[in-house]
Symmetry: C2
Subunit: 228 residues, 2 copies
Amino acid sequence: MLDTPDDVAETTSPRGDVAEMVGLHGFVQLAAFTRLATDAEHAPDLHAQVTISRMAAGELAGLDHLESVARGAGTDLYAAMAPYTTVLDDFDRRTPPGDWWERVVRTYVSYGVLADLQRLLSRAAAPDGRPMLDEVVADSGYEDFVVAMLGPVVAADPQLSARLALWGRRVVGEALGIAQRLLAEHPLLWSFTDRQGAAGRDGDDAAWLRKQLSAGHARRMDRLGLTA
Amino acid sequence: MLDTPDDVAETTSPRGDVAEMVGLHGFVQLAAFTRLATDAEHAPDLHAQVTISRMAAGELAGLDHLESVARGAGTDLYAAMAPYTTVLDDFDRRTPPGDWWERVVRTYVSYGVLADLQRLLSRAAAPDGRPMLDEVVADSGYEDFVVAMLGPVVAADPQLSARLALWGRRVVGEALGIAQRLLAEHPLLWSFTDRQGAAGRDGDDAAWLRKQLSAGHARRMDRLGLTA
């Protein structure tokens, strides 16, 4: 676990850790809504547009639960989300998709990394041992949808496959950078990973995070038939 | 009622009228989702962003019902929506909002006109007299939300009020034009209005439609404290 600087500990409320945690989850859910809704607008046909729009809508379902978790910890979800609102600005600037498939891969990769991060951060959420955020990190079906839509296209087009594999590597580099910055800037988040017992140095924590998230990414790329 | 040209009658299925009707409703619901989701991204604070995002998500709820109405008429909702997909392109090009409030007024005005059009077109939808599309045209709370958010701002700022009133007149002109074109290009839609019994000339129908939709618009502008 990263050492928590004294000044952070002193300026946060007793459940400042919960505020950082629900804020991150709320931000990721809202960001997923926004990005999927925008992707839907670019979809090449109405059926895909409606399907992705519905998945976008589904991302908001967890916010009610997060609001009540936030209230239970004496905090406000929207205040807790505020520190995260600019997290993806750099990512967006650095990864402008050139076409529909690059857009899909960008969302698939970054959504996957952030969802894995959410899962890592929900392990120790409930004091009684029960999972506190299962509802929020539930499978939206998005991964399966992309695999079904893009998998056959990639399999039939080696040139596209090579281009998207390269693109995926670029996107995941940016996404992993976001995840690392998030944990570095919000060190209280570490208390919600099962890494909290480890007595490692900072470098180990970052390496552990990268390894966890990279493994999930490699599995997702493999499902698409793309080289991670 | 507009005369249905023979060539249209011959090339449509027995329930081609239902296809035109569910297609329009499906298109409006999906367009409302897309526009509200985009508005949400521009919202000045997180609370407004989440509220508008949730309203966007709510717009998709009616699609399930429309899918089953379409199936019942032997048609497919997505095929039925296809002829409408470019309907708002001109509108978007002609009404680029200059700031957040112009964006809100643009959506408020066009959403209102299209929702009123949906209500006019759902009157005679069920053969047994029961309303067929109540679920789809249900009040989303968006109008009340905008009145609560923008009303006090307008009341406190005469200069903004004058600018938005002017902007509203420009937007409603474009929105009424869309509604008229929709009915002109999809004349079977007239059979779902309570205008179907009238033995008027074409001009009367267009004037009737304009009057109906203008009345709703004037009421909505009045609620905002803006001169229609």
